[in-house]
Symmetry: C2
Subunit: 193 residues, 2 copies
């Protein structure tokens, strides 16, 4: 229980041993089954999920019922709907589990308290925000500047594990194209090998 989070805090966030137990006491563990919903549109998101095992996704559903995947979160990733979490607005997005998953769950207040306890935690939290911005900006860059094929090549380069773990139509959804188009892109790439 919480081993994954413990190791993460110790080895990546560099939280000092003296603070680890205190911080760990403040979070809880949640096990979810595949397809279980963790956030629905219209609700206010209160949680951040740390994925110890499994795979989550954050996505929107448009007027015509189509899903648009904003983000995947495999092991050792944090996932939340920050616009709702931080600003307290009802979420426009959904979160669910793509695999049976084991999560560590905490809220915004935890982040503030842990930041007061551990300066390393505070710094890492800022690192996460900055890193998130960097990724979103790069993604915008390829959405406005690159075609479907190069976006797909970039995706498999960046997230090879995820390609193996989710159906292709979800990758297509993340890339902003249809499953049929992605299938054709993949055929084109295969031809050149």
């Amino acid at each position: 229980m919480k081993e994954g989070f413990y190791h993460y805090l110790r080895d990546r966030v560099f939280v000092r041993s003296a603070h680890l137990a205190e911080i760990l006491k403040m979070v809880s563990v949640k096990k979810v089954k595949k397809n279980e919903m963790l956030l629905m549109r219209g609700l206010i998101c209160r949680n951040v999920f740390f994925v110890e095992k499994g795979l989550l996704r954050l996505y929107a559903i448009d007027e015509s019922g189509k899903e648009h995947i904003i983000q995947f979160a495999p092991e050792n990733w944090f996932l939340s709907e920050r616009a709702s979490l931080y600003f307290g607005n009802p979420s426009e997005y959904f979160i669910d589990a793509l695999e049976d998953s084991s999560l560590v769950v905490f809220d915004q207040e935890f982040i503030e308290r842990a930041s007061d306890i551990s300066v390393e935690f505070r710094n890492y939290n800022e690192y996460l925000l900055q890193n998130h911005i960097r990724h979103l900006q790069n993604r915008i860059h390829s959405l406005i500047g690159a075609d479907a094929k190069s976006r797909y090549l970039k995706f498999i380069d960046l997230y090879p594990e995820i390609v193996q773990r989710v159906p292709q139509w979800m990758v297509a959804s993340y890339l902003g194209i249809t499953p049929e188009s992605l299938s054709r892109v993949r055929r084109d790439i295969a031809l050149f090998k």
Copy 2:
């Protein structure tokens, strides 16, 4: 000199009077002419720009020489290339002035020092990061889920002043379409009035 930044810190960031002077001493003012470059690709971005007057843009140039605008920054906005500023990587992007502008300039170290002086400043800085994430995420959402027309309608709704101040081809570049397509979109919209 620095009046705009002073009022912003006092009225929006809520920095206490006791801290204002000390913080203001640490920043400098820069006046730039239209078209002046503030960041080039390949350089490490050291600055954040606060726009007191004028208009900046952050953009990329692709292999074929086309510009892709990532962000505009009119009065009272902060602009920087955070991926480069925070992580110290060479920037993939450019920043220049679209109008004669008056800027307040500071660096990452300033942010840390001002955060130590004023907790209000620290909180506002986090607010800016969270807000930035929210905007980028919404933009990704419309890039993968909406067509050119609705992206344009959203843009003029969100940034009506900017539409008045930049050439339309730059709006097109921001939206990820060609100027010709934007022209057609605008004609379609006009027909329905």
